[in-house]
């Protein structure tokens, strides 16, 4: 799990990282795809890179894998700087980048065998077994003899995942792995990510769906228009901004005074009130309200932190050039 054998003696001042970027920037002609990206991927973490389409997830991942040269910035992968350390680090990295790439005229199995032939950590004798294991793991064993050409989108995605898992990896990078998968397929991918996490591998998974990241990740980095707008542990980010409860009640006055007595801060909002959950919990709030005789029709947790931020980002993206949306978004991001 540690990247270097010499680690134990040195007392690390910072926690070990599997990958780190500093001031990463990539320009394609006049388009800036990624700018000022400082990512930190702690060892053993499952980092969800969250961002709407076109926010620079794939470009960042490509730079991290040495496929694309950054215009500016530094990358450290498994303890070595890129691009010089690529040959040392990459054998320990499995990747599925921007859709699976395979040859249409070969079967799934043949495609994997070809990938395996180029894996430095895989001894020749073990290729066959490794390929079968990988196929089994992603649930493709039955279809392995069929040509890749005839695979469904989900099967292609699974084969891409199988290629990333041919060898036990220290780091697995998955770019939107659930694209094109049905709910069952999505669950399987989650299961595989969880397994990798249990085994101590570090995982970087990108997604444009918050639910995806919430379900699988320990850490999150939110990308927007090529820059990281939020980063940290999932639980922290979800709490950030304080969580709140939206309570719908006809007895607003009664409710407010009851809560005030219980030293819970609240304010009227719409057809109910917004109750801050700092120093208290939802059951406690509702118990207080019920005891005071205020009827509770509905209580929902308020969108806070990550959720609110991401909702704004995606809404802004949908509203496209809606100026007001962009303004709120920029305000919220700081």
């Amino acid at each position: 799990m540690t990247t270097s054998a010499s680690a134990p003696a040195a007392a690390p001042s910072t926690t070990a990282v599997a990958a780190r970027t500093k001031g990463l920037r990539k320009e394609y002609g006049s388009t800036v795809a990624v700018d000022r990206v400082d990512l930190e991927l702690p060892e053993g973490a499952v980092l969800g890179m969250l961002g709407p389409n076109g926010s620079g997830k794939t470009t960042t991942i490509r730079m991290l894998l040495g496929l694309v040269r950054p215009t500016q910035g530094e990358i450290e992968l498994l303890g070595t700087p890129l691009p010089d350390g690529a040959e040392q680090a990459l054998p320990h990295v499995g990747a599925l980048v921007e859709g699976p790439g395979f040859h249409p005229f070969l079967s799934g199995r043949e495609n994997l065998v070809r990938c395996a032939a180029f894996e430095p950590l895989l001894p020749k004798k073990q290729i066959k077994q490794a390929v079968e294991d990988a196929l089994e793991r992603v649930g493709l064993a039955q279809a392995a003899h069929r040509r890749f050409r005839g695979y469904s989108l989900g099967m292609k995605q699974r084969l891409g995942l199988a290629a990333a898992l041919l060898v036990p990896r220290k780091l697995v990078v998955l770019d939107e792995p659930t694209n094109g998968l049905d709910p069952a397929g999505t669950r399987e991918i989650r299961k595989i990510i969880a397994e990798l996490h249990e085994q101590g591998s570090t995982v970087l998974v990108s997604s444009h769906l918050l639910s995806e990241v919430e379900a699988t990740c320990t850490h999150v980095a939110v990308l927007h228009r090529g820059t990281v707008v939020a980063q940290g542990e999932l639980t922290e980010l979800l709490q950030a901004g304080g969580s709140a409860l939206h309570v719908i009640t006809p007895d607003v006055e009664t409710a407010l005074s009851a809560l005030r007595q219980a030293k819970i801060s609240a304010r009227p909002l719409g057809d109910g009130l917004r109750v801050e959950l700092a120093g208290t919990s939802a059951p406690q709030v509702i118990e207080t309200l019920v005891k005071a005789g205020a009827g509770v029709y509905e209580a929902t947790r308020w969108k806070t932190g990550l959720e609110e931020l991401f909702a704004r980002l995606t809404e802004a993206e949908e509203a496209e050039r809606g100026m007001s949306a962009v303004d709120t978004l920029d305000g919220g991001a700081r």
Partner: protein, 266 residues
């Protein structure tokens, strides 16, 4: 590790439907030539090497390769070069190889090896089928040379083997330049079009005597001189000039491909 990568590359090339169709087409050439000469009895062939084909089955492989070198073999080489880098980029498999990782220089070496191995295989196959078809249709009693002498079958086979090597080298040189193009694009067809256009334009330019200062630099200028293997004894000056020129193309092509590949975003 490297042998396993080279093996995988050749196996992959052999599995491609396009390769198989191409090889099948190439094999038809000597058969059609033998059959054509056999049916067209009467006045003997055309000028030069075609004139000694009659009753001289061992010349068929030489004539076949000599004809094919002008268009067919460069086309096949360009297809392999196109699929090797541009095709892999198009299918997204280049990324997979690079993150495996295969260093970019190593990858180019693997591609060049695949191209060479397959070219040698294709040319040898054509020669072997040429010998068989030529012997079957036109008979075989030794090999008549352009100088009027007759070589024994064993000597003839040696000459054919030598010619196979020379032709393969020319084919690889064309392929190396095509690989350089292949490293710049994701569209295999662009590579084929660029290579074949160049070959044809070179041959046209070779026809203008006003451009004779240019001729020593055109790879196609070297093709006809190779047929000197059919003289007795073999005059080596044209053969070595052609081979040297092809060597320059090979070096330049490989160099450009390496430079492009190393800096390429994929």
């Amino acid at each position: 590790m490297i042998t396993r990568q080279l093996g995988s590359e050749v196996r992959w090339m052999l599995r491609r439907p396009r390769t198989l169709i191409g090889l099948f087409g190439l094999v038809l050439v000597p058969i059609v030539i033998s059959f054509g000469i056999w049916t067209a009895d009467g006045d003997g062939g055309g000028p030069g090497i075609a004139a000694i084909l009659r009753g001289n089955g061992m010349v068929v492989p030489i004539f076949t390769l000599f004809l094919s070198l002008n268009l067919l073999l460069p086309l096949v080489a360009s297809i392999w070069a196109a699929d090797g880098l541009a095709g892999e980029a198009q299918h997204g498999t280049l990324r997979g190889l690079l993150v495996a990782p295969v260093s970019r220089v190593r990858l180019l070496f693997v591609k060049l090896f695949g191209l060479t191995a397959m070219s040698l295989f294709a040319v040898t196959l054509m020669a072997v089928v040429g010998i068989i078809a030529g012997t079957a249709f036109l008979g075989n009693d030794g090999m008549m040379t352009l100088s009027g002498t007759t070589l024994t079958t064993a000597e003839g086979l040696l000459r054919i083997a030598f010619f196979v090597v020379l032709v393969t080298f020319q084919m690889v040189a064309v392929g190396a330049v095509a690989l350089a193009v292949s490293a710049t694009t994701e569209h295999p067809l662009v590579v084929q079009a660029a290579t074949m256009t160049s070959i044809i334009v070179f041959q046209v330019l070779g026809q203008f005597s006003s451009l004779d200062w240019l001729h020593p630099f055109l790879i196609t200028t070297g093709f006809p001189g190779l047929v000197d293997v059919m003289r007795d004894p073999i005059p080596f000056d044209q053969i070595s000039d052609s081979t040297l020129l092809a060597g320059c193309y090979l070096l330049i092509g490989t160099g450009l491909a390496a430079i492009r590949l190393v800096t390429k975003d994929s």
